[in-house]
Amino acid sequence: MTDSQTQSAPVVLCQNVQRIYQQESVPVYALRGASLAIEAGEFVSLAGPSGSGKSTLLNVIGGLDGFDAGEVTVGGTNLGALNAAELAEMRLNKVGFVFQAYNLIPVLSARENVEFILQLQGVSSQERQERANGALQSLGLGELGDRRPGELSGGQQQRVAIARAIVTEPVLLLADEPTANLDSKTTSELLEVLQQLNQQQGMTIVTATHDPIVMSYTSRQVAMMDGEIHQDSAMAT
């Protein structure tokens, strides 16, 4: 499938995805045939209690975890056909990640953290700096680019993580419990940032959460239970 053909196709397409973990030879079904299609420009929350499979599905979509059955396509790429190196390449170029624990590189400044991912992509020095500064400024961090993560608040660190995730202009932004470590005020500010990215730049965002506040900011809520899609607001309407 070529890029031109995928323009009208869903950014994410999961069909009957199964993920089975072996715990002391006992199979544990993390995903039991989950199917989900996410169109470009959607802001989707995957919600559910612990063990519902929301994080597993997010990881499978992001190419961080494999799957045992079904089919997963991200940005037109069939993840089942990729080896580890190709998955890394796909993550680098197509997916932006925002983690619960920020996961910034502590020895790099905020700007360098954002530039780092561009450098892995082989972007030239000048373009790198321009794009990193642009991403930081768009998130209100223009003045804090030289600070290291340890010198930033949790909310600021998560904004840097978002800047790092969006600076590569990915087809998909995945956020795993992005506000779990933040207070309610910072949570609201961060969700507004994500909402703006979605509404103003058309960024496709999928976030795993169990926080109703997060769900309230998303345009589509997918509820998971026991490894299956239990409820999908898109289907309900």
Partner: protein, 408 residues
């Protein structure tokens, strides 16, 4: 790719600084190991150089020319002309040439009799031999015509004689008959090597020639010793001498002192083995600490993989950090080693063990010798050890699953 490597290099440097307390102890361990090994190896190298110098200066020179048959029958009947010319290529510079008569003899005082080597010399030529290091009580030989005797302090004590007294020396003359002649002792020498004090007796070359008679040759000598500027020139110089004087036997110091030659050869291997032993012991600690560093950063390294850093780049980053730590430690160690060598520049006095050290062909003052080649060798080997040590943490880092790391 260059930009990515620069990034990884910067990242590695900052990580080294980041764990500066732990890395300080690593640096210190590496520096002490490298510095200590540098010092010990410089002493071994000094021992090697000393043995080589002692071997060369102990009358043999780098090469010695003798008449055929002299080794089996050391007498003036196996002599050759002192006019024998030595002409080596200019790129094989000669420090000096000494012409001698060197014959077995018996020396007697009123009280004792001993066997010695009776050596007729031109004192002006002997700046290349152990003669130059003699501390002489009394008078030195004035020239080749001086018919007085110079004997060692130990021999003088054995013979219970002293400067100004006479001794009798019996040595075979040019006609094959024993010549007995009285010699007045001009001086008694104190030598760094005790064997030379007991075994050698010197007199003027021309005086000895006259005393022994000259059957066939006008100006007979039994040996011609050549000292070169560098031992590396020896094989080429010896080959040239063999071509120029096919009627003579040319032997180098290695042929004359094969045991010393073997020890000198062993020293190079010993130094490398010793260095590897020390560094191997260090490697265990290094590997352990580096693995702990990787384990501590599992989440961070997993995050890098999650963001799309491939395994090769992750491997390079871990190796860069390990080798970086090694390089800093090694540079500090080499500086420490150089400082220790300078501190010991005057050498270690081994005179308390003079008999033992002489058995190894050494003088009693051991001076450390440090060469640029040795420093480069230690530096290079250390980086190799660092690369080897980095393999284990790097392998551990490559096993980190981004998913598992994220879930920690």
């Amino acid at each position: 790719m260059l930009g990515t490597l620069t990034l990884l290099f910067n990242l590695s440097l900052r990580n080294i600084v980041r764990y500066r307390r732990r890395n300080f102890f690593l640096f210190a361990a590496i520096a002490i190991a490298v510095g200590g090994t540098t010092l010990s190896n410089s002493l071994i190298r000094g021992w090697q150089v000393d043995m080589l110098q002692t071997a060369v200066s102990g009358l043999s020179g780098h090469m010695k020319m003798q008449a055929p048959g002299f080794a089996d029958d050391p007498s003036l009947q196996h002599a050759f002309s002192a006019g024998t010319s030595i002409a080596l290529d200019p790129q094989l510079p000669i420090v000096g040439i000494a012409k001698r008569i060197n014959l077995p003899a018996v020396i007697s005082s009123e009280r004792e009799t001993r066997g010695v080597a009776m050596i007729g010399i031109d004192p002006a030529d002997e700046g290349i031999s152990l003669y130059r290091d003699f501390e002489i009580a009394g008078e030195t030989l004035s020239g080749p015509e001086d018919g007085r005797l110079l004997i060692g302090k130990a021999l003088a004590e054995t013979l219970q004689t002293k400067v100004g007294r006479r001794v009798v020396i019996i040595v075979e003359g040019a006609d094959g008959r024993s010549r007995e002649r009285g010699y007045r002792i001009a001086g008694v020498f104190d030598a760094p090597m005790e064997w030379s004090e007991t075994m050698l007796a010197f007199t003027g070359l021309e005086a000895l020639q006259q005393a022994l008679g000259t059957q066939r040759l006008v100006d007979p000598i039994t040996e011609l010793s050549v000292v070169l500027q560098s031992d590396e020139d020896r094989p080429q110089a010896a080959a040239q001498l063999v071509r120029q004087h096919p009627q003579l036997v040319v032997k180098d110091w290695r042929q004359m002192q094969p045991q010393i030659a073997e020890i000198v050869d062993l020293v190079d291997a010993t130094m490398v083995i010793w260095f590897f032993l020390i560094m191997s012991a260090l490697t265990f600690g290094l590997v352990n600490t580096l693995i702990a560093t990787v384990m501590q950063r599992t989440q961070e390294l997993g995050m890098l993989r999650a963001l799309g850093m491939n395994k090769q780049l992750l491997l390079i980053q871990v190796v860069m950090e390990c080798v970086g730590i090694m390089i800093v430690g090694v540079v500090a160690g080499l500086l420490l080693g150089v400082a220790l060598v300078f501190a010991l520049g005057d050498g270690i006095d081994l005179s308390a063990f003079s008999q033992s050290v002489e058995a190894f062909g050494m003088s009693t003052l051991l001076k450390p010798v440090l060469t640029v080649e040795d420093l480069l060798l230690y530096g290079g080997l250390s980086v190799l050890v660092g690369l080897f040590a980095s393999f284990f943490p790097a392998r551990r880092a490559l096993k980190i699953s981004p998913l598992m790391a994220m879930n920690r």
